[in-house]
Amino acid sequence: MSEKLNVLIVGVGGQGVLTLGSLIAWASTLSGIEVTVAETHGLSQRGGSLAVHVRLNNKDAPIIPVGEADHVIALEALEALRYLSYARRGAVLVVNRLRLPPPLTRPPGLDVVEEALRKTFGGSVYVYDADNEAKQVAGSPLYSNTLLLGISIAVDERLRRLISTVKVEEAIDTLFSGRAAEANLRAFNQGLKIGFSLATTRGASKAVR
């Protein structure tokens, strides 16, 4: 259980980037593994670019060094591209199929972003419209973050080895109550389902090749 893993969560302030960081942190703590989560608060939270560094089984130094993130969860696609240099070659990327252009700008389109990510990371890029899915299963795109975590845990065995799905569910119960807890659980489980199915198809296509 002492495998180290660096998880970078990126997105836009207001999307639940910090909440997702806390959730992973609680799940790790409940799983009994060492975790340090570094957040950004204050002004940057207002619709700005946000990154949360999660270091599993890594003592103390809170920031993931450039090129050493093993797993990236991007709540917004442009942010995945922005923080790409943090990822190590061969990292797993789970990316929300959502593009929020900063006001008054014309950034690259989703297809361009996806193509660029695939070019760099190949088969370990998973792009999914989590906002839409979360809206359908949990009633609001607010729950796309837990949905993406479900996908992440399903597609990345290393992450799953450190944090079990049961502990994530316990962490959801610790952090949320009532309707929010239920909605998050639904979103998470839906994410798992999607993730496992993506991983299976991906695995199968790899085998064919």
């Binding site: 975790v35 950004t40 204050g42 700005g48 003592k59 103390d60 660029a116």
Partner: protein
């Protein structure tokens, strides 16, 4: 805040709880019997008081949001000189506001343990500068304790309080963003005490508490004596630790830098080649361990974030004692910006003479085309509406080159296009004093724009100054019923206390009126009425009137929260594709994150999930193409307009 499990701060001894650094500090202080907490919100310090306030009534401690850091410091320090353990917390620049009492408290000292938490912000993630507050320790003869992690913050708060009480001296507990805003689990060593001292006795010790010059000279001697004792004491863990002693090369690692040093040495497999002096008492630099290390090492590298505070003082200690070791520091470690492994490792490798080539970072061409994403005003933000109203009113009167001075808050974002209604931003409350000075030397209209909490914090003296010195600046107070930027803390105008109970409302309009301003009140949700009122206010101002405008509308994030809590729905707007000509007026004049132009599209659309129904875009659209797609519930305007919404606390 939703992400703090209810009452985690009160978990039992032995449990393992995930804490943010600030919560760890709060917990440590509650265990150590602190009974008085006072602070002013400021990133990255806010959650210390915020988390205490949530449990203050359960455990019987006092938790107050003060009007500013100076008052917070005075309040907490006063409790300590009357024998009650206390703590004040502020961001680094907050200590500038409290600097007067801070320095004096270093002279007079304390009776009960007293900590000032200074949460510094290397890289200025959420600040106007990245000043290194450890220098303040030298200025005031106040020792500085710096944790290297969340877990250590929890433990060292208790140690620091003991230190303060033992030496009867305030202690600065200095964190940085990476400690305050990181999370780790903490194994709780003790329960929150049930036997804290909350009633003190004020001793009329005039020599000590009345700093007239004669007393100040005596108190300086007192402070120096304490200082020398601390400098020369034989410190051991947890404040000072020598790891792997006796090597020819040594690294001194104060506070958080230790985490990066440790990881670097692990990477370089160099732990056996170097002595590490882990310093958690960083000011004053403890003399003995530095001399011990220098006695064995030929070369010493000080790895510290920001300024060479420890480095400078290590040099001074070695010089004084004629020690021979060569000291390196900022030659190899960056002096500005936050440290990271990437920024520390090459310096350490060079110092140790080890080959190190960092792996080339991944890059793709498309990465370069991702536009920067600075923070922006949220959908429905009242500041956006006020800025729009101000500009339209000025245009109507053909006022050119209006100077808008600015202040600290979400509204600082008004510096961006299309508004540019924040043309200066230096410090809390500065908008008004700066506006006054500019108004004395330029011909154009000058408008000071300041937030509600900031007005109470440091805006009132500047307002009085305008009246007294016959200034020519107009004041606009943006009253959104909260301290928004730091995460929605109450302030004297909100009618709520730190613990959520009702408090008297101090009306900003009353303050301004009593000072001597004619006050115009607008609700920018009603755009047309507001423009009309602001035109009148400008006219009054142009004919020499002393004018202030108070713009009252709730922060949209709070209105949205209330909407979810009450079930009162806010309206949602949409763009009628038929009527829309693609003129982009809404995009360019409103700059709302909810209005986007999809890839390849010629016309914008409103992201329904983001729209909070403020109606500004509908007002702006020249073709009436923006309509209410989902009407708000009956009385939804109250969520934005009224200070107290019935049935909601």
């Amino acid at each position: 805040m939703v992400d703090i499990p209810v009452k985690a701060l009160l978990a039992e001894k032995g449990s393992r709880v995930l804490y943010m650094g600030n919560e760890a500090i709060a917990r440590g202080a509650l265990e150590a019997g602190v009974c008085y907490f006072a602070a002013y919100p400021g990133t990255p310090s806010t959650e210390i008081l915020e988390s205490v306030a949530e449990v203050a009534e359960d455990v019987g401690v006092i938790a107050e949001w003060s009007v500013n850091e100076k008052v917070a410091y005075e309040s907490a320090y006063a409790a300590a000189i009357a024998g009650v353990r206390s703590l004040t917390a502020m961001k680094h620049v907050g200590l500038n506001v409290a600097a007067d009492i801070f320095v004096s408290s270093g002279y007079s000292g304390t009776k009960a343990g007293f900590l000032v938490v200074s949460a510094d912000d290397p890289s200025a993630h959420s600040s106007q500068n990245e000043q290194d507050n450890r220098w303040y320790g030298y200025l005031a003869h106040i020792p500085v304790v710096e944790p290297s992690s969340v877990r250590e913050a929890y433990k060292l708060v208790k140690v620091a309080l003991g230190l303060s009480e033992k030496y009867q001296q305030p202690v600065m507990f200095r964190t940085t963003t990476r400690v305050s805003h990181s999370r780790q689990y903490v194994e709780l060593e003790d329960n929150v005490t049930t036997t804290r001292v909350c009633k003190g006795v004020f001793d009329k010790d005039l020599t000590r508490w009345v700093l007239i010059p004669a007393h100040a000279r005596l108190m300086k001697e007192r402070a120096l004596k304490v200082w020398r004792t601390i400098e020369e004491a034989d410190w051991g863990p947890p404040l000072v630790e020598v790891l792997n002693p006796g090597k020819r090369k040594a690294i001194i690692a104060p506070g958080l830098a230790f985490a990066y040093v440790s990881e670097s040495l692990e990477r370089l497999r160099a732990w056996n080649e170097v002595t590490v002096l882990k310093l958690n008492l960083t000011v004053p630099v403890p003399v003995k361990p530095v001399l011990d290390v220098a006695g064995e090492a030929d070369e010493i590298l000080v790895v510290e974030e920001l300024d060479p505070v420890v480095e400078t003082n290590v040099r001074s200690v070695l010089g004084k004692h004629r020690a021979q070791a060569r000291v390196l520091g900022k030659e190899l470690i960056p002096e500005s910006g936050e440290l990271s492994l990437d920024r520390v490792l090459p310096g350490i490798a060079k110092f140790l003479g080890v080959e190190y080539t960092p792996p080339p970072p991944l890059r793709v061409e498309e990465q370069a085309t991702v536009p920067p994403r600075p923070p922006v005003m949220c959908p429905g933000c009242p500041h956006r509406m006020t800025f729009y109203v101000l500009k339209i009113a000025a245009n109507k009167l053909k006022l050119r080159n209006v100077v808008y001075t600015g202040d600290i808050g979400c509204y600082t974002l008004g510096y961006q296009k299309p508004f540019e209604t924040q043309m200066t931003c230096f410090e809390m409350g500065g908008s008004i004093g700066v506006a006054h000075g500019i108004s004395k030397v330029v011909e154009e209209p000058v408008v000071a724009v300041i937030g509600d909490s900031t007005f109470f914090h440091a805006g009132i003296p500047g307002s009085v100054n305008i009246i007294y010195n016959n200034g020519r600046a107009m004041i606009v107070v943006l009253d959104n019923y909260t301290t928004a930027m730091t995460g929605h803390q109450p302030h004297p105008g909100t009618g709520l206390s730190a613990t959520g109970s009702r408090a008297p409302v101090v009306e900003i309009t009353d303050v301004l009126k009593s000072v001597g301003f004619r006050v115009y009140v607008i609700n920018p949700l009603r755009v047309r009425d507001s423009v009309e009122t602001v035109v009148k206010a400008f006219q009054d101002y142009l004919s020499g009137g002393k004018v202030a405008i108070v713009s009252r509308m709730r922060c949209s994030l709070e209105a949205y929260r209330l909407s979810r809590e009450t079930g009162i729905r806010l309206p949602i707007y949409a763009i009628d594709e038929e009527k829309c000509t693609g003129c982009m007026a809404c995009v360019n004049l409103v700059a709302c994150p909810a209005i986007v132009v999809p890839e390849g599209a010629k016309k914008p659309l409103i992201v329904e999930d983001m729209c909070l129904g403020c109606n500004l875009c509908a007002h702006v659209c020249p073709f009436k193409a923006i309509y209410v797609k989902r009407p708000g519930s009956e009385g939804w305007e109250r969520l934005y307009s009224e200070r107290f919404v019935e049935g909601v606390g």
